[in-house]
Symmetry: C2
Subunit: 316 residues, 2 copies
């Protein structure tokens, strides 16, 4: 049985690459399974260990995730990795638990309106589903972690402001239902740094023994400003997607997740150990671009390169 | 005579639009004078009051700044505005002071190597020029403010790391020479949030009665993360350029200044009063685009729009 602290030790920053799941949610072309494996393999070589691999969703509607089982198997072959997969209903949860994936993620919306729009369920019903998923996970021999992403935790594009207390109360219900890890998501890029800092601090105050994650979109340009606020205020699991892939049906025209490569650079600048080598990571963009030539790739480090002074001796 | 505190009151955030100067440093096409006036006028209508208008440089080499005198006159007609212009040598300084512009800006590099590469002068010589400029300014009837931008204050693309003490010692020499305002520039996008926070705190400790500015480029994606670090640590004058215009000859391929519109959004999110109305500001991009159709415009708020929930009642 895996303990949460084996995967997410308290105080240790884990950068999670969600490109293969959230990044592919809305793309027009889909990478082949072998492209995805190359993507994972090369990120692994660059030092990435934590991957969101896909969703358990009907393959006829979401063909981009049809190969989720194969990716889960593939990741198991790479020592030291941790994979997660999304499950939005009982069928998906059952398949996810049976797949042997190390972590199964459910989604709960911070607003009732988005809950209905996104998963066609009330918040109460969604929490019921989380209880069901936890039971499934506990009864599986490999006992996967169950995580819950709280969508719209920083404001909702349907119903507006979301109160900190609302999020904390939902988080508490998830934890009482047996969830191992909570991730707070700025699904539509409504958060500013102080919003992120406040919710992180309050989460820590409320649940001092729980590691938690932050999932940010760079919709309005504040993604990395929010990421540093999260890192400075107790969040240890930070999501990003290669090349900033990933739109959101509730935020049309917007760019996607925060750029994973830029997030690694931010950590490097802040002396936060990630184990990831940026130059090597940047090479993975070639795989992404090759497999989805129509997709716009984002990223500042990819464009400007790492700081590389031309002289090392300032006195020259 | 204008006092520094009239323009930059202690503790009050001033966002300065540097698109017309730093933003035009490297563009391929140049807006006409009437386009620039429309740009200024429409930004003024949106609430912008502080503008860097251009450089006093030889018009045959920098034709984009040939109309600087006309813009200075134009800005004077708009009540409550404050204009600055760059001067890199005695001839420019003389012309700038004679123009009646409210603030003349000199540049000093934090590294000796960049000082020589950028203005073909040692740091000692550059400080001598600042003394000369201050004398000129003090003897003019309208007594313009003299500001100094310390380039490469967070690291240099030629000589690498720049120590905080080096920057503080240069700042002290500028202040002793009579400079009214210091702006610390991350010319090539080397800074991270902690670098910015540290230098801002140290600057405040060293010169507690001085307002100071931060000039950031978004070269490596950390521009707004650095801006919030500056705002949280005592900097009150923050530069940005419309649509993120402005490259840097020392940072090839890179994007430019932080996007002014996104900076305003950041302030709005952080409840920092700027007096600027974002929707109206976004309209100015049309002027920029029309006048420089070949230039890439950046900006997240322009792309995603302001957060606008579709329902205002969460219970619907």
């Amino acid at each position: 049985m895996t303990a949460v602290s084996d995967i997410y030790p308290a105080g240790q920053i884990v950068l999670r690459e969600v490109g293969l799941r959230d990044g592919l949610q809305m793309v027009k072309t889909h990478p082949s399974t072998s492209d995805k494996k190359e993507w994972i393999r090369r990120e692994y070589d660059a030092g990435v260990r934590c991957f969101e691999l896909g969703s358990f969703l009907p393959a006829h509607r979401y063909p981009q995730f049809a190969d989720i089982l194969e990716l889960i198997e593939f990741l198991k072959e790479l020592p030291g990795t941790h994979g997660s997969a999304l499950a939005l209903n009982r069928k998906g949860g059952d398949a996810a638990v049976n797949s042997g994936v190390a972590e199964v993620t459910a989604v709960l919306s911070a607003s009732e309106a988005h809950s209905k729009a996104n998963i066609n369920r009330t918040q109460d019903q969604a929490i019921g589903e989380i209880e069901f998923l936890v039971d499934l996970a506990r009864s599986a021999s490999h006992k996967p972690l169950v995580s819950v992403g709280i969508a719209m935790a920083f404001g909702c594009s349907i119903s507006g402001d979301v109160k900190v207390d609302t999020v904390l109360s939902l988080a508490e219900r998830c934890l009482n239902a047996g969830a191992d890890v909570i991730s707070l998501a700025d699904t539509v890029g409504y958060a500013g740094p102080t919003d992120v800092a406040t919710l992180c601090k309050e989460f820590q105050n409320a649940f001092p023994n729980r590691v938690f994650g932050i999932h940010l979109h760079d919709t309005r340009g504040l993604g990395l400003a929010n990421a540093i606020a999260a890192l400075q205020n107790g969040a240890t699991i930070i999501d990003g997607a290669m090349a900033g892939l990933g739109g959101c049906p509730f935020a049309p025209n917007a760019t996607g997740n925060i750029v994973f490569e830029d997030l690694v650079f931010l950590c490097q600048k802040e002396d936060i150990y990630t184990g990831i080598e940026i130059e090597q990571l940047l090479g993975v963009r070639d795989v992404v671009q090759k497999s989805m030539p129509q997709e716009a790739l984002y990223g500042s480090i990819a464009k400007a390169g790492l700081p590389q002074p031309t002289e090392l001796d300032a006195n020259k």
